[in-house]
């Protein structure tokens, strides 16, 4: 069963203010014995995107202070400058921050975040950057962070070794750096109906009004980063 990720496209909506209520079953009336696991209610959360900073020790680079968000995820998983021979440097902190900001901007405009899109955004800032190996970047992780999932790099985490070579987090270990829910939802009837006719359809509409400003407030992504079209 495919997964979808519901992100917030507006910056004026704080975490936990808007709730999608029409996802089935709702915990308030589901029967734990015979009903499926509750999908709702779902609160909208902003993506976390704090600036990351690194400290150099010769060619070795580590994270200066504990930091959460998309830039932290990128610097730990996305390759930087090409050294030749299959080796790459880590992204610089500045590059990671820029790419993260540009990816969030893309989400705010409800544009696709597929692997190719992520590479395009990355190599606009650092020409050799890509989701290809040795990068361990996963589309689903980026989508999870966009929905408000928390990814934290501890202070001192090494992103580049003493030879100046990128040392990404192995894909199998990435989940250890996430805390709490990854906010994915199963694309079941309730999500489809909500997006076509229910609460999500209202939030997808440019007529959605929050504190006097009318614009859409959510984007829905398939797990491959393409935008979910409820009217397909």
């Amino acid at each position: 069963m495919s997964q979808v990720y519901i992100t917030v496209t507006r910056t004026d909506i704080p975490n936990g203010v808007l709730q999608i209520r029409d996802l089935y079953p709702n915990p308030s009336d589901f029967n734990a014995v015979i009903d499926p696991y509750p999908q709702g209610p779902f609160y909208l959360s902003q993506p976390e995107n704090n600036s990351v900073a690194t400290t150099a020790d010769g060619d070795k680079r580590t994270i200066t202070s504990t930091v959460s968000g998309l830039a932290a995820y990128l610097i730990a998983t996305l390759r930087g400058n090409d050294l030749g021979g299959g080796d790459y440097e880590a992204l610089t902190a500045s590059e990671a921050n820029t790419i993260a900001t540009n990816l969030v901007s893309r989400m705010r405009n409800s544009l696709a975040l597929q692997a190719a899109n992520i590479t395009d955004i990355a190599d606009n800032t650092q020409a050799d950057s890509s989701v290809a190996a040795p990068s361990t970047t996963r589309v689903a992780d980026i989508l999870a962070i966009m929905t408000g999932a928390i990814f934290t790099l501890p202070a001192g985490h090494q992103v580049q070794d003493t030879n100046g070579v990128f040392s990404p987090i192995a894909a199998i270990d990435i989940d250890d750096f996430f805390t709490g829910e990854k906010n994915n939802r199963v694309l079941a009837s309730d999500i489809a109906v909500s997006a076509a006719k229910g609460a999500l359809s209202v939030m997808l509409s440019d007529n959605f009004n929050y504190k006097g400003t009318a614009n859409n407030c959510v984007a829905i992504y398939n797990s491959d980063g393409s935008v979910y079209d409820p009217n397909a």
Partner: protein, 244 residues
């Protein structure tokens, strides 16, 4: 979005109800439940080729205008189909509308309508509107064209840009892609029955009852010996129980 389209002319609006689309309005929880998907009533196709709501055309030189507020399939055909870049006559539009209805009654795909029209009528008809607008009308939604809508300007057809205002009654006849309720219904529930079996309606017991896909009964095209309905996907292709 799939649409349920009737396949016979003897079923009045509101007479046949599809009740197994989950949630049903009668038991939906409005405060925290999904939007109810059922029940949906079958509705006849509004054609309006003649009568009070039929389009009335006024020709002045090379300009043609629909002078009255009109509804239905003939009005849609007039605004969306052209004959070698000129507007259709009312008679031509009625022929095209009847051809489309016959294809729906026969459960034919509608995803290649322009070629079908050209093959049927042997003239250079053009149709390029979003097929979903046509499916809405076939599923029973009210399509309204305002009075004094031009359909030809200086000898050239001027297709109407269709918006929500042309479908002013929020009927919401759509099924939802990805919703399992209608898929289950089409696979083995009421939609299966309504799309596969020939059932008498009201007191007409003269027709042969039977299941089309099991006993090989071929229903009469454009007649009342068809199954009740057909389900179209929004690209104009037919989806059947076998596709689920």
């Amino acid at each position: 979005m799939p649409y349920i389209v009737v396949r016979r002319s003897d079923i009045p609006a509101g007479a046949v109800q599809i009740t197994d689309l989950y949630f049903n309005k009668s038991q939906a929880r409005v405060h925290n439940g999904p939007v109810p998907q059922g029940p949906i009533y079958l509705r006849p196709i509004e054609i309006n080729g003649t009568g009070r709501l039929a389009p009335k055309l006024q020709t002045v030189g090379g300009d043609i205008t629909i002078t009255n507020q009109t509804t239905g399939l003939v009005a849609y055909v007039l605004t969306q189909v052209d004959n070698n870049l000129e507007a259709l006559t009312l008679a031509q539009a009625l022929d095209v509308a009847n051809f489309i209805v016959a294809k729906a009654y026969a459960a034919d795909d509608l995803n290649n309508l322009q070629a079908n029209l050209q093959a049927e009528f042997g003239v250079n008809y053009h149709y390029s509107d979003d097929i979903e607008n046509l499916l809405k009308i076939l599923s029973g939604e009210k399509f309204v064209v305002s009075a004094n809508t031009p359909i030809q300007d200086g000898g050239a057809h001027t297709p109407l840009l269709i918006s929500n205002s042309n479908f002013p009654v929020p009927g919401d006849r759509r099924l939802v892609t990805g919703d399992t309720a209608w898929e289950e219904s089409l696979a083995s529930g009421q939609l299966y029955k309504f799309t596969n079996t020939i059932t008498s309606y009201f007191s007409d017991l003269s027709i042969n009852l039977g299941e089309v896909n099991l006993n090989g009964v071929v229903p009469a095209a454009n007649g009342n010996e068809n199954p009740y309905a057909v389900v179209y996907l929004n690209d104009g292709t037919v989806i059947t129980s076998a596709d689920i």
